[in-house]
């Protein structure tokens, strides 16, 4: 797996996922890119983090979760003015793409996730961070 090309602060990633297996796999992949990882078990917890003033560079968000669904979570996060954070919707439900994108997600990843697509996403976020520092 490619290593990250970090020049500066690590990518801050938020994983919003209620299934432990998925959360573990995603966090393992993101650790290989030296991401700083925060976990939320549902959308409500994720929104709370933003209300507390936390900032993230990228969010990986599942669709079907208790308390608050993925698309609803994304709508609320965008409504808080978080327009710059890259949001990746993830679901085993292929029909979820429309719901995620309408809610404000940038990308949809079907489950089971192809692990090698995460690297380029993180690299894109790193490049964006590096460009904004120039």
């Amino acid at each position: 797996m490619m290593t990250s090309f970090v020049q500066g602060s690590p990518v801050k990633a938020l994983i919003v996922e209620d299934t432990a297996v998925h959360a573990l796999i995603l966090s393992t992949i993101l650790r290989k890119f030296h991401c700083e990882i925060t976990m939320a078990e549902n959308g409500n917890e994720a929104v709370q983090l933003f209300l507390e003033g936390k900032k993230f560079d990228i969010i990986f968000c599942d669709k079907d979760m208790p308390v608050m669904s993925g698309p609803e979570t994304i709508e609320k996060i965008r409504a808080l003015g978080e327009s710059h954070v890259k949001i990746v919707g993830i679901s085993a439900d292929y029909d979820a793409q429309e719901a995620f994108v309408s809610a404000g997600a940038d990308v949809f990843l079907p489950k089971p996730m192809k692990f090698d697509v995460v690297g380029p996403m993180i690299q894109e976020v790193i490049n964006k961070k590096n460009n904004s520092m120039v």
């Binding site: 797996m1 299934t19 998925h22 573990l24 796999i25 650790r31 489950k111």
Partner: protein, 144 residues
């Protein structure tokens, strides 16, 4: 295949792959294990087994109710489908897909029959996973 896994364990995994119990997704999982995450595969399949057992317990309760809420049943099956697809537990995943069809048809009988199949298939793969982890642990202790 992951450099940190012992040959015996890899042989066990290869046998599960060749019998169709697992698919290529499991091989991708093995590749994520390295020196920085030496217990990744063990943790992942342990979580899968624990989640799966809990889900089967919930499905049994749900289908035992007088009035079955098929949406709720489907939600549990969907979760197990997702988990099994992610770890490469192909037969569990395929059984979940059949189960979801019966949920759509709101067929209690169909759901109950498929739950029986799911139990067999799940405990087959989780038993083999547990045996694989035990072997891994024994081999790790033998090389200390």
């Amino acid at each position: 295949m992951a450099a940190t896994m012992k040959l015996g364990t890899l042989g066990h995994a290869a046998s599960m792959l060749s019998t169709g119990l697992l698919d290529e997704q499991f091989q991708k999982l093995l590749l994520l294990q390295d020196g920085s995450d030496p217990n990744f595969v063990a943790e992942t399949i342990t979580l899968f087994c624990e989640d799966g057992e809990r889900t089967i317990g919930e499905l049994t309760k749900q289908l035992d109710k007088r009035c079955v809420n098929f949406d709720e049943v489907a939600a549990f099956v969907h979760k197990l489908e997702g988990g099994s697809a992610t770890v490469g537990a192909q037969r569990v995943k395929n059984t979940c897909i059949q189960f979801l069809e019966f949920c759509k048809e709101k067929s209690r009988d169909g759901c109950l029959k498929t739950l029986d199949t799911l139990r067999v298939v799940f405990y087959d793969v989780s038993g083999k996973f547990k045996a694989m982890l035990q072997l891994e642990q024994q081999q790790a202790e033998a090389t200390k």
